[in-house]
């Protein structure tokens, strides 16, 4: 069972309280974008074995979307941060680098 801390209300929420929302930091495409760009945005995914940035919603709590950094091989959670972030906070990045020296790095 995953435990993620909601960065808005501070609750350490059980997985049953949350809804998973897939890969985070996708570049949203719009009118005028090419087919290949839409394909990237809608379907292509990192799906890494290891460090993954992803969206979650505190569905049975405050209802807000937030982002999390997690390892898909161990289920270890590195931290959570607000949905408005363009990239993970420095503190989380540094923590990941320390724990996963062979991580290919942010984006």
């Amino acid at each position: 069972m995953l435990l993620l801390e909601c960065p808005y209300c501070g609750v350490a929420a059980d997985e049953t309280e949350l809804a998973a929302g897939g890969e985070a930091h996708l570049k949203r495409e719009t009118v005028g974008s090419l087919d290949a760009e839409f394909e990237e945005y809608l379907f292509m995914r990192e799906n890494p074995r290891g460090v993954h940035f992803e969206r979650w919603r505190h569905a049975y709590g405050c209802g807000k979307w937030f982002l999390a950094a997690r390892d898909t091989m161990t289920l270890e959670v590195f931290g959570t941060y607000p949905a408005q972030s363009k990239k993970p906070p420095k503190a989380i990045e540094n923590l990941i680098k320390k724990k996963r020296p062979d991580w290919k790095g942010w984006a």
């Binding site: 069972m1 995914r45 990192e46 799906n47 993954h52 161990t74």
Partner: protein, 415 residues
Amino acid sequence: MKRYSAFAIAREAARYHTGWERAWAAPEPKPQYDVIVIGAGGHGLATAYYLGKNHGIKNVAIIEKGWLGGGNTGRNTTIIRSNYLQDPSAAIYEKARSLYETMSQDLNYNVMFSPRGLIMLAQTHHEVRGYQRTAYANALQGVKTEFIGPERVKELVPIIDITGPRYPVLGGLYQARGGTARHDAVAWGYARACSDMGMHVLQKTEVTAIRSDAGNVTGVETSRGFIGCKKLSIVVAGHSGHVAEMAGFRLPIESVALQALVSEPIKPCMDVVVMANTVHGYMSQSDKGEMVIGGGTDGYNNYTQRGSFHHIEETVRALIETFPMLSRLKMLRQWGGIVDITGDRSPILSKTPLGNCFINCGWGTGGFKAIPGSGWAMAELVAKGEPGPLAAEFGLDRFRQGRFIDESVAAGVAH
């Protein structure tokens, strides 16, 4: 290869079973093969088998990082059906189902195919309409199914409660020749047949990199050194994204955990397969008497082969409403597999951006039933370099073109 038969059993019984030979060889890798298949699950082994049988290509290695059949092929609930909505799906799944009918004879290996019949329950009016539509589509596709009423469901499955308070049974989509088979035997039977053709099944050999020259594949780096090949077929299910990255391209796939569980063995009580998609549960009874139960996938990316307990709880809770007698059963074992889910819930059998490199993946929660048909279609693609009619619609390019084979509406559940 010595054939298995009633006579062979009698002969061996008479000499204390000293004459059985190994089912498949454990050879050292050659420096070079015509074709390398990565992944000795059902789909990889079937690809190799039909490369040899249909196309005469026998200088083949199937490379497996663990033991053969140890991925999803050995972890699934073995449901076989072909009652899909879209034409390309019906074609490949029905091809597979019909090959299952004669697989034991073809392979001289008992895969225990049991076409005991399969019902997909309609428990909402939406589902009634949906399955009636599928029954009409199947009639046009030449797949034998029928929509049956609740009384007929009760007749076929006496342990079912069709008057449940939340989810009454309003009917069902019935495929009389759907059923189950023994999953390990499918992998073992193909491996034995491949080995007999002189192919190499290389277990405990992990592919760690893919080598290419001028845009064409030249071989793979493995935990046992470099192995060259003229053509490469990637068939690694949940690990497809990882291996595709080695080949330098991305996939429209996410890997998540899907779980199953079995009860203690009980006397025979249900001789059809029942799927209840609204409540995310499906069940059959094994020959040992265990109730074999599967549910829905977890929502998040995961490579650990273990899922979240609350999904097991949800599945069992929902099934108990439809099968009240289950509430008395103890559950014995639970396990998970990592399934490869595509954007339209349909598989990919395709050429790739790397020359002479092909990929078969995206079978997700429902590829056991497809193994022989998928191997048949994949072998044709690898041998000829172009897809035949069965694989043609399942190319990677469909995501860019918006040409989806949308089965998530028709079967929005693990199956």
